[in-house]
Subunit: 363 residues, 2 copies
């Protein structure tokens, strides 16, 4: 049988340097008989600099044909004034859309060793473990019409929020499936009191629940109340399912609750391929952090844990994923901290690569 | 000269009972020579129950012709299954739209006596004082096309995000004007990396700044990063300006940071009327809280402070507004707590009306 294949897209800013550390973890698995066929390509600003587009057709084609894609981060102030159509983000959005990665899994977990880093009180976040499922291929991110048009003597900016029943149904199923493996509770968030797309969202989620997952506990919440409740007492939630734009904000908010953005991975999953594996892209929740790129201050853990999610969701290697998770917990318990995690008395930061190597050693 | 006029719309849930306390404050000003012509009408579910619509044309007409409207809250589970077009929220949205109340001012202030109630660490929120200006009459709340349509053999839910240059410009001006009376800093939030309406938003805010308010410090932030930064270190902000939907979420989030939702007022302002006063509606940030309606547990302070905002923004009565603010701080410093503010050792809650009367006494 062929080795499982991985496409690595380091991207911009700290993307390449955190990816270097992930490579060490991948190589470690190679020495233990689990070898990946790894290819690498450009995405985002890096691709724009080389090819004038944030994602070439060749790279898109490669992404469609591997078992999993691992992405670092895209974007940076250098590209702020590019035309909308070639902004770094368009590369990432094209990957999500053309691979049809409709279910974005964003765990917000608070690591015991790091609970003090949160701006929230320790009792509010210690032990936090929620999973946000964000719809990733539709909604206002992709709806047409969109653009800047002229009307009379002024311009108007337009985007379209748009959800079909089947788009809602499939991501709802992802959420219910995941809930069954966790605490069996799903909270769905929208603005059904203001938006008709939210009315349809609520109705379809409820129907999928009643018809197919009556054993899972389902509740509904308006997205603004959701933002409040996440801030007030996040542990009330198990799985949250929501649309692309609300998910963007709510998952970032949830990530920040944990106090350690540099620690949080994500998985974006689509339909099963011929080999039974879902189309998949894994990436850290943090951005490209151009201000610290190249300084050795980046935390590689979120990207390494994204690879662990790949082991779990793409390669049916739950035990190996647990092993990576445990190695990360060990180095944290040992007191290793990258520069984003400073503040404890007497702690000197380790560099990006020291952290990566410590994790490999802990494996 | 005629007395200034006020239309009171108590609405649903705890709306009527908190409004009863506001009436006591209004009456107190009456005994001091500042008399308001007060009328009252129904809105939301209460209006639906009586008239089959969440806002009658007569009430709409009254609202257009008073100096200020004071609203309690709308909505409740009783009305969850009503048709979208007659939901309680439609009454509120019609008021906002037809009165053209484009600038929604939502202060997020942390009261010293209450800093411990926040789920955030005390040093993160103590002394917090930010002002969110939310665009309130456009965007996805009102854009067309909207609705649930059939396409092929399934339904699709559609809403339209839509901003014209002039809609963005006028709310940007409101933000810059307010910033000049505060710490002179504005942060504008959108998703210009993903939405063209956000691209136009950013461009227009920047242009209004450069042409008319170059003395104010302006920054831009993506709305997801904004949610994170509000959670991480909210004191970095002075004035935040953002669109209707992002503003809905971000202002609720900011409100929750303070730990005392029952304390936060809001003002929604439109164009100046013939008498020079802006069209205006004032309402607490909290909702109708149907679960505690009628139990004496509601906190009337947010609604009383909304009346204080009316004194400040509609009636040029800054000194009187300060007096109400001071009375509220005094009763809090004295240790008075409604049921939403429990948790301190040995504190017994006061009822809604005890709190209202204590504030009047403190005046
Ligand atoms: C980079 C950007 C396009 C992206 C998004 O808005 O989806 C990011 O914020 C995210 O959450 O993955
Ligand atoms: C009640 C509802 C229509 C309203 C909104 O979404 O604007 C509320 O959440 C608010 O923020 O005032």
């Amino acid at each position: 049988m062929a080795n499982p294949s991985l496409l690595i897209l380091p991207g911009d800013g700290i993307g390449p340097e955190v990816m270097t550390e992930v490579r060490k973890v991948i190589d470690w698995f190679g020495t233990r008989g689990m070898t990946f066929d790894v290819s690498e390509a450009l995405v985002g600003g890096a691709a724009y600099d080389a090819h004038g587009t944030p994602l070439t057709d060749e790279t898109m084609e490669m992404a469609q044909n591997v078992d999993a894609v691992l992405l670092g981060a895209v974007g940076g102030p250098k590209y702020d004034n590019l035309d909308f159509s070639v902004k770094p983000e368009r590369g990432l959005l094209r990957l999500r859309k053309e691979m049809d990665l409709y279910a974005n899994l964003r765990p917000a977990q608070c690591f015991d060793a790091l609970a003090d880093f949160s701006s929230l009180k320790k009792n509010v976040v210690a032990g936090l473990d929620i999973m946000i499922i964000r719809e990733l291929t539709s909604g206002v991110y992709f709806g047409e019409p969109r653009g800047i048009f002229t009307e009379g003597n002024e311009r108007v900016g337009i985007n379209t929020q748009r959800y079909t029943e089947s788009e809602i149904a499939r991501v709802a199923r992802s959420a219910f499936e995941l809930a069954r493996k966790r605490d069996n509770r799903v909270c769905s968030m929208e603005k059904a009191n203001v938006m008709e797309s939210g009315v349809l969202w609520r109705e379809v989620v409820q129907r999928i629940h009643d018809d197919e997952y009556p054993d899972v506990e389902l509740s509904h919440m308006y997205a603004d109340a959701g933002a409040m409740q996440l801030t007030r007492w996040p542990k009330q939630f198990d799985v949250i399912v929501t649309d692309n734009l609300f998910g963007d904000m709510l998952s970032d908010l949830a990530a920040m609750l944990t106090g350690s953005l540099g620690m949080l991975p994500s998985a974006s999953l689509g339909l099963p391929m011929a080999n039974g594996r879902p189309k998949a892209l894994y990436e850290p929740v943090h951005g490209s952090a151009p201000d610290i790129a190249g300084t050795g201050k980046a935390n590689p853990i979120a990207c390494i844990l994204s690879f662990a999610m790949a082991l779990r969701y793409s390669f049916d290697a739950g035990a190996e994923a647990d092993r990576v998770d445990a190695a990360v917990e060990k180095v944290l318990a040992d007191g290793l901290r990258t520069a984003d995690l400073l503040g404890e008395e007497g702690v000197e930061p380790v560099t990006t690569s020291q952290m990566g190597e410590a994790i490999v050693a802990a494996l």
